[in-house]
Point group: C2
Chain length 97, copies 2
């Protein structure tokens, strides 16, 4: 899995930024804070994503406090964003919708 480059990279970042993700240039990661009604909604979302992530063998960095989940996506082996991160980001958006 190689880092996104050129047009694929620009398209991915445009898609992410339109949905409230920020790009961390130092790590070449994307980050977003998802907010839910309460803890049960937040953890339920995390559980859906955990199953997707483990099946992909590609895991988020995430932190939860009550109804908030702060997510960072990056592919450590590639030192930056890959298609795996975008697939997981799409799953997160779909599950939060």
């Amino acid at each position: 899995m190689t880092r996104l480059e050129d047009a694929a990279r620009a398209d991915a970042l445009a898609w992410a930024e339109a949905r409230g993700w920020a790009h961390d240039g130092e790590r070449d990661a994307i980050t977003k804070t998802f907010r839910f009604k309460d803890f049960a909604q937040a953890f339920g979302w995390m559980t859906r994503i955990a199953i997707v992530a483990d099946k992909m063998d590609h895991h988020p960095e995430w932190a939860n406090v009550y109804n908030r989940v702060e997510v960072t996506l990056v592919t450590h082996d590639a030192n930056g964003l890959t298609e795996l991160d975008m697939t997981l980001a799409r799953a997160m958006e779909d599950a939060a919708a």
Copy 2:
């Protein structure tokens, strides 16, 4: 729910520190990083704790990266440690054992 004081506080911190928790004096919180075999084990543990926490209506601050879960316990309403934090800490230790 009031902050732990005096002997109850000393006992609670001694119990926690013997199990690898650190005391954050600034927040009067306790913190620990739990490590598991893999993501599924880590998230399975989180799920058990999530159910306990939501039933207590007392939630951890926690961050997960693959097989690690960094936990902070504090009672915001009390600006420090209470018996709720110790109950949740015991549940975490039991579920990780």
